[in-house]
Amino acid sequence: MNQPMIQARQVHKTFQAGKIEVHALRGIDLTVAPGEMVAIMGPSGCGKTTLLNCLSGLDDFDAGEVEIEGVNLRAMNDRARTAYRAQRMGFIFQTFNLLPVITAIENVELPLLVSGVRPAEARRRSTAALAQVGLADRAHHRPAELSGGQRQRVTIARALVNQPAIVWADEPTGNLDSKTAGDVLTLMQRLNKEKGQTFVIVTHDAAIGALCDRVVYMQDGLIVADGNEAQATPTAPAGQEVLA
């Protein structure tokens, strides 16, 4: 495990918001080791999500280098990156982002089917993944028929079903009450430990930070602090959010 899972150097990203140019990332350097569970924290608009998008290859960046498992993202075209995502990455979003028109298990199956896994095999593995997140009995419900926590657990099952090397999570507990958020976090932590998968979690929930191996603080497009949980000092707004 000499090779870092993620290696970002001087990543810059600007984008147009109306007539104003926003310099979202101003030279990010970040290295994540395999199996690490990293939380990226910071105030709203500091560039957390943009960083996650750039690192995961969902978005282009203007300057700098990003290597995932030693492969330079820039060297890959869209197809290659997409294929890479399908096989090696999982995503958890704040707004769940399940397809509303298909059932829970069909949602979980999607990444497998996209990677070319045979439907029967996909169905077997999805059932297992749903069981892992404790939703075996809800497999044939549509997202609309599930609670918020259940939906997020489906998302997690989907993110993990193809046993990715990296799981990206963008505010995974943002839309959940604290009890459910706690359940979800415990689940993620357990999976991280069991499977040794790398987790990069964007959040401003201090509770999540507390559970992660390492917390990276961002402000105005720059990493301002990087360290393990011990070093991290919970900020006031984050604390409030936990209480909410």
Binding site: R85, Q87, T95, N97, L99, L113, A159
Partner: protein, 1452 residues
Amino acid sequence: MNLLNNLSTNTAIALTAAVVLILLYLVLLWLRNPVLIKLGIRNIPRRPTQSVLIVIGLALSTIIIVSALSTGDTLTYSLRRQAVAAYGEVDEILAPPLLSLFVSLSDNQDFGDETTTDPDAPPVEVSESQQVLENLTSGGLTSVLTILEGGLPGITTARYEQLRAEAAADPLIDRVAASILFPTIIRNTTTGQGEPLGFIFAVDNDYDQSFGLTNIEGEPVVMESLKPGVGNIFAQASNLFGLAGELARQAGLDLNISDVALATASIGEILTTAQTSVENGNLDLAQISIPLETIEQLGVDTTALREQGLSALSLASLGITTDTLQSMGITTTTLNLDTLTLNNLALGATTLGTTTPITATTVATPSAATATATPFVSPLTTTLASTATGAPTATAASAITAALTNTPTPVATAPITTSPTATIPVATPATTGIAGALSALSLDTLTTDILSALNLNTLSSEIDRVLAQVGLQLRQGDVYLNRLGAEQLDARVGDVLDVYVGPIPIPFRVKAIVEEAGPLGALFPVVMLRLDEAQQLLFMNGKVNNVLVSNLGDDLSGVEHTDAVSQRLRVLAMDETALQQVVAILRRADVQPRLVAAAGDAQEAVMEGFEGPQIIADLIQEFSPLGGMMDGVRDLANELTKPDVSDRLRQILADTTIRGWLLEQEFPADAKAELTVAFGELNTFDVIDPLSKSTLLTVGDAAGGIFSSIFSLFGFFSILAGILLIFLIFVMLATERRSEMGMARAIGMQRRHLVQMFVAEGMIYDLVAAAIGVLLGLAVTYVMVDFLGDIFNNLASQVGSQVGSQSSLFRFYFHAAPTSTIIAYCLGVLLTFLVVTFSAWRVSRLNIVSAIRDLPQESEESRRSWLARIWNWGSALVLAALGGYLLWLGLQMALLSILLAGGTFLLIGLCLLANRVLEPTRLRNERIHRWTYTLMGVGLLALWAVPWPRVLPQFSDNPIFQASPDQTLLTLALGGPLIILGAILTVTFNADVLTWFVGFVLGGIGQLTPVLKTAIAYPLSARFRTGMTMLMFAMIISTVVLMSVVIRATQTIVVLDERETAGFEIRADSTLLSFFAPLRDMPAKIAELVAAGEYPLLQQVAAVGIYQSQFVDARNTTDSRWSGLSIAGMDEGYLAQAPAAYHFQARAAGFADDAAIWEALRTRDDVAIVKPNLVASAEEENEVGQPGGMGDRARFGGRFRLPASAGGETLPDLFVELRAETEENSTGTSVSSTSHRVQIIGVLDDTTTLADAPLQMNLRAFGTITGAPIEPSQFYVKVQPGADVRAVAQEVERAFLGNGINAMILAESFAQGQAFTRGILQLFQGFMALGLLVGIAALGVITSRTVVERRQQVGMLRAIGYQARMIALSFVLEASFIAITGLLIGAITGIVLGDSIVRTFFTALTPETNFTLPWGQIGLILLVAYLFALLTAIVPAYQAAKTYPAEALRYE
């Protein structure tokens, strides 16, 4: 100008007002609350592509409306233009009263009865013109003599001049011109093509000067430059006739008019035939010399010849020597004049449809007669000249006397005059006298023989022919031919036409083809003659039969004054003496008081039934034709009290309705009789309203209106689809903005504000879209007009099938009336406005919270309301109950369509009820709906798409399955939409099975599996939207496919069913001109012509058949009541053909087979056969038989029926009594006329036969019953196997052209009908296919909407590994799923319905006919529709695919 125009103008104004109101409302909103409007409008530039799509979608309805309207406009305009082109400046036409009597005669067959039906009425003196008319219409000799004696009815020149002066004083009348219009047969001798109905239109210089006349190059031409033809000879013939009569009277002979005619005929005949004996039949051209006087007499300008110093025309005088001719290869003596002339005569006679007894006799050249005739022979024209000078010589007188008294007294007098033609030696004296000739004449042929004898045209036609060889045309006058005539006759300038006056062909040369050839020029071939020439030819000296009137203003604006001018002309038309007489009668002491009383009563009678406000009563008066009359009646009483005859009184008496009213009043009998006579004399001419230009223009407008309506009707589905599309678009726009709108509501916006926002946005789209729609719609029409023109002109060229000329009967000029454009634009705007407002109102009722959080809208709110609950349960219950009732009703009435409708209502009601019952249970709603709606869908399909009568043949006897065409149509009209609805319900609630199936089948195709899954899952989750789009596709495609199937059917059935023709191939019809020389016995004439070696192709006629039919009284011998029944009589020819075409389902005892029946029909007059529909059904009979049933009086609704016992295989002894129809048949007791009894010996197995009546017998028996002479107007001809049907048809027409016979090929006219139907259907199909654009646009809009809606989901999918192309594919597949399902449902529906229509209406498509569905075409339609739909989906799909996943995720 007229009602239709006013209507469309008013509609346009009303619609514009509505649009303006809406705009004003928006402006007001803008002023009051600009932010709101801004909020609405700001959405437009936000997504330009989408806005463009929306605009296109909205434009579609307008396109369809505008093209429907402008197609009608084009037709209207083209008709108007054609009418105006033909009429030129002419606005009204005046004719002598007789012609209007003709019109009433054709309208009312009982003309003759009017004076005789009422035995109590005093004997009414028939007016002079009525007498003339009756003579004219009696046919045969009397009519001819009537014409010869008095000339044709007309307006005298003096009367015309008077009118002209009066018209000049009228400010509204521009000009008048006199003319003669007369029907004629025209044949182009140059090309051989003939038209059995054309018109002579003769005018003088007044016409070209006042109305203008141009040739087709647009250069002006004048009537004066036309050379006169043989008219002067006709005038002499007329004189000759008069002379003969006069001489006979002088000689003290008591002769009736036909004897005089006969004598004249004989003389004319001798004049004609003696020419044949010139120098033993051999004529040396070089011997011919014609004095210039003679030529001048013929109306030829000889100035040039005189200037050359010539006094006579001969080869020598022209400096042409025999040698010269020989050097040119012409031998002057090789012409065998004898045979030429004989042929010519025979030809003339054949043309007349008679044998040539005179010719036959006189060929033997009577010796005694020759002497008598000699004076008349050679110097014909000189003789005529002398008679014309009114100095009959003694020689002539004695000759005629001799002829008349049958005394062959040789009068050896010298020729009266000497002339160069006398140098032609007269041939050997003949041996038989005129007596022979006369005795050879039978009265049957008298009419035509007299006229042929007067056919001076054949006289010396050889001289013409000879002279023509040296470039001189002496005897041919000139005519102008109209454009249509030129096309139909294939005539060019210089061609020689035979223009028939009665049965006499007269040659005229075409001097120019002209544009304005009078009122009939647009419809018929018209030859324009000099007025003086026509007056002579038609024996109408000093008379015209038409006066053309031009109103103030140009050719179009003059029409406005038509009503006023017509009224004025009616006043001018009255004869002063007769008018004074009428007024005197009305002022009589025993008349006037009654009149005043009656006028008062009439006023009250009209208003009696009306109790509304006065203003409405006035309006009714104003607009109903009765209103004007009432005014007249009221004023009449007053005006009569004034001295003299006031202008108002003239006006009132000019009104024919008032005259009618006066004759209905209870005046003393003698006053009434006098009044009748006076009215008969009152009009010196009539205004022929039907021939007014304004009438024609109104017809054009109406036709255009009808066309517009038909197109709108056919475009209805498309317009409906367009409205659905608008609705869909705005529902989606609203969905897109739900959270925005929820937010707006949260911060205090009212619901109406939301509506206003939407409406503001919608109106902007709307105004632009309607404008674009109008432009595109006009473009569509422009293309269609081209196509229409092709169809019509194709038909036109085939209508003249026998000549096969390429004519353009009708030309289309693209035209869109401003009103139509405005109407279409406003309709488009309003339609959209309404739909937008409705959908905005609907979405404004959102739940604020769920809208903000973008959660599915809960319908709890509505469910809680009591009203809603009552509605939900109530509607279901009502539907079910209604369904039950209709089922019961359908069973009672045994009507399949009612049964099906009942089943449908019951099904829908029960399914909805099931929903209501199950919804509160623990079952998931989704599952409940799936079950109930699937049941509904499948049920609808089972009810409507299954052809039950064919599925359950064992019940085919059940009356419910006895489909009649109208029932089938109803079933189809209801069935189409319901099948589509059923299919869409079934598919949208069950397509996840499809997903499963796809997953199962295509499981191994890797990455496609998830794509397919989502592509089907998405549309199914938005059922409303998906269903609507599928509906649009299905609706439109079903109509287009249905058309395809029907069109294919019209293509398949190109051969006419033998049952329709009885095996005959040609139908020969009499026409208007047949009146002069009616053809009674075609087979005999054909035999004669064949025997004479004439018309060789007639040898190929295998059979000629006729049938006659008439309405008579009939009853079964067991009945006491008579009922009306149509019977047919078939002649030998028909009966010979029938056995091969028709068979019997039942035969009477003693008739072993069909042949026995046919044999009996041929030989026996006491037998008849019937069609199966004449046999009463058991139900009918039961009903009649029931105690308290319909009873004897109303048996079978007054129709004649055979007892139901005739329905078996063996007929019982059935006898039917038949008698000519009598007035008393309703009372049923008195049998005045004798009846004829026939036995029914056979029941045909099919109702389709050539003879149209349900009871058929042979012609002899038919004649016995009807008591009327057999005068067939149609002949059916069968040609020999292998013969060229077309050539024979042409030969028949040629042979009987003189009889005005028009031949047509049955199969061809049928095929043409089919082709025309097909062309129109194709046009409609294309028009409906326009609606496909709606479906395609809908799909485009939906796809682009879904792309926007699902950006986030797309981002997620991209994140979890969907490749860009998979995203694109997913969208394309989704659109494809909707499109293909819609298309397939539509196609299947179309095929089912089309097949059903074809089976019902194209019964000739029996199983053995190879009718296959147009699979290729249907496939092509589907493919093209799908490809276009795909195109609109690809663009948004591509946009979705190229989005960066992060960008998509960011979007919320």
